[in-house]
């Protein structure tokens, strides 16, 4: 498939299949979380055509394409995110997610070194529930999986700003800018720690 054909096909799927599924998926996830306190919001989105194409045409070091079948191999064509108030709420939500959805991957994303600050979050690759699939419509074009992220408010705020900035620069970040990004990540991490501690103290769970 040429780049142009890839874009055309994805734009069709984006409009006709992925966006409606994302909408239904958001409601489905929210419904399964009913009764769990301190959930700020649940959102789901279809990967935008621009982001899909940028990912789909990525090359390996040897110059060969990273994805020979991008529609099957890219597993976050539909992504959902659950945002919770406090760090300890993440696991409560994760346990519930695992009760309702089958996963093929589960990751706790943390910086490689204890001395670093950066992206934190819990990610799953989950089987797409049949409930959100319109009967037999384009069945072979519906992704088998979707990505689900569970984040605290501060993890979410940091990753959104970082994501936005990461797409801006034409040149790599300077050492100072890298430290500034790490500083904001450390502050977000520290805020999560403090709120978790305060919540435990004020609710007598310490």
């Amino acid at each position: 498939m040429t780049e142009k054909e890839l874009r055309q096909e994805y734009e069709f799927r984006y409009q006709a299949i992925l966006q409606p599924i994302a909408e239904r998926l958001s409601a489905h996830v929210l419904d399964n979380l009913q009764g769990i306190p301190r959930i700020d919001r649940v959102t789901a989105r279809a990967k935008s055509p621009g982001r899909f194409l940028a990912k789909a045409v990525k090359a390996l070091e040897d110059g060969g394409p990273k994805y020979s079948h991008p529609f099957e191999q890219i597993q976050d064509l539909v992504g959902a995110r659950i945002i919770v108030f406090y760090a300890h709420d993440v696991q409560v939500v994760a346990d519930t997610v695992e009760r309702y959805y089958r996963h093929i991957e589960r990751k706790d994303l943390i910086p490689e070194s204890e001395a670093e600050f950066g992206y934190f979050g819990k990610h799953f690759i989950l089987s797409m529930p049949v409930d959100v699939i319109e009967d037999d419509a384009h069945r072979d074009k519906i992704p088998n999986f979707f990505e689900l992220q569970i984040k605290t408010l501060f993890q979410h705020a940091w990753s959104e700003a970082n994501h936005d900035l990461a797409y801006k620069p034409e040149e790599p970040l300077t050492p100072l800018q890298k430290r500034q990004v790490a500083f904001t990540a450390a502050q977000a991490w520290g805020a999560d720690q403090m709120f978790a501690q305060l919540h435990s103290e004020l609710n007598g769970t310490t």
Binding site: N32, S68, H69, E72, Q73, E98, R99, Y100, Y101, R102, H103, I104, E105, R106, K107, I125, S127, P129, V130, D131, D135, N144, F145
Partner: protein, 334 residues
């Protein structure tokens, strides 16, 4: 659909001796004979016979599963050698109760590569041959039958990239065997898989369908049947069932069953899951309050406070409600 390759293995119950080697298998030539026609029939009907969706369970947190890896290797390079690890895996998963079996691994084209794995359990039998002069009867020790009680098969279709293969379908006549080792043997121990629908997801679908049937129907008999089932379901063991099975288990009338099934997508009516009594109660519970004057008040738990308004004066509770009487009966017991 065309059957293109067949591999066969004798597997022994070696769960307790996993290091014992597998006997060499055989490649069955593709030709027009009785064995090919029988296996061709199984291959062609696999999509209809294997109705239970399953999914590989990842080993750890990454996208890995040993049985899946073996299946993908077989699809990518068909040979007796690449089929052997699956047979070895089956032998190591087989306990004494399941006994010896004859395994067939069949591959062919079906809008991608279809794989059908079927196990025929060994049995004893008698062969009777009639000649003009007499009847000859002989005992046969190793007969492999497509047993109606213990036949097991699995089918997968690898389209596009085989490494994206995560789901398949099975038939397992012993899914609800009382013995856990037998019940878990094919799906969990051999295929390292689970039902595609989690217990909570399947049970919630069932409970919501029942609740919607009660809410939308004016049929008193239907409401009574579902309320009775809801009370009894708390004691239903952790068995594998479908929404249709649940309706049959509690002897719902045909009208009630059809109303319940109409509340789920057609393909979900026969989706199998393990019943989760706690999850069921979360979505379809009836709250019952008994007073010391003999009154018993019952309403759906999630609407009890709307159905009855309650005032309280010290230990005395007053419940009030109003509505049209749609059923009235005398019952021997609550």
């Amino acid at each position: 659909m065309a059957l293109e390759a067949i591999y066969s293995f004798l597997t022994y119950p070696k769960k307790s001796q996993p290091d014992d080697p597998l006997e060499p298998g055989a490649t069955i030539p593709i030709r027009n004979d009785k064995l090919n026609r029988m296996l061709g029939g199984i291959f062609d009907r696999a999509a209809q016979d294997c109705t239970v969706p399953i999914m590989f369970v990842p080993d750890g947190d990454q996208q890995q599963n040993a049985a899946r890896n073996e299946l993908v290797a077989l699809v990518e390079r068909r040979s007796l050698r690449t089929a052997t690890p699956l047979a070895t895996r089956l032998q190591r998963a087989t306990g004494g109760q399941s006994g010896m079996g004859l395994l067939f691994v069949c591959l062919g084209d079906d809008n991608g590569t279809r794989i059908v794995i079927s196990r025929f359990p060994a049995d004893e039998g008698v062969v009777a041959e009639r000649s003009r002069a007499a009847l000859s009867v002989q005992f046969v020790e190793q007969v492999f039958l497509k047993s109606a009680y213990s036949y097991k098969a699995a089918t997968y279709v690898a389209s596009a990239r085989p490494d994206q293969l995560w789901t398949g379908h099975v038939v397992d006549r012993q899914i609800n065997a009382g013995n856990k080792a037998v019940a878990d043997y094919w799906i969990s121990d051999f295929l390292l898989s689970e039902f595609a629908t989690t217990p909570a997801a399947g049970t919630k679908r069932l409970a919501v369908a029942l609740r919607q049937a009660v809410t939308t129907s004016t049929n008193v008999q239907l409401k009574h049947e579902i309320a009775s089932a809801a009370h009894l379901a708390a004691n239903l063991p952790n068995r594998a069932l479908t929404i249709a099975d649940f309706c049959d288990h509690f002897h719902f009338s045909e009208a009630t069953k059809q109303m319940v099934l109409s509340k789920v997508k057609p393909q979900l009516a026969n989706e199998r899951f393990r019943f989760d009594a706690q999850e069921f109660a979360r979505h379809l519970a009836y709250k019952q309050v008994e007073l010391d004057n003999g009154a018993v008040l019952t309403a759906p738990a999630d609407r009890f406070d709307q159905v009855f308004s309650e005032t309280r004066r010290q230990d005395e509770h007053t419940f009030t409600t109003s509505g049209t009487v749609i059923d009235e009966r005398l019952k021997r017991t609550r």
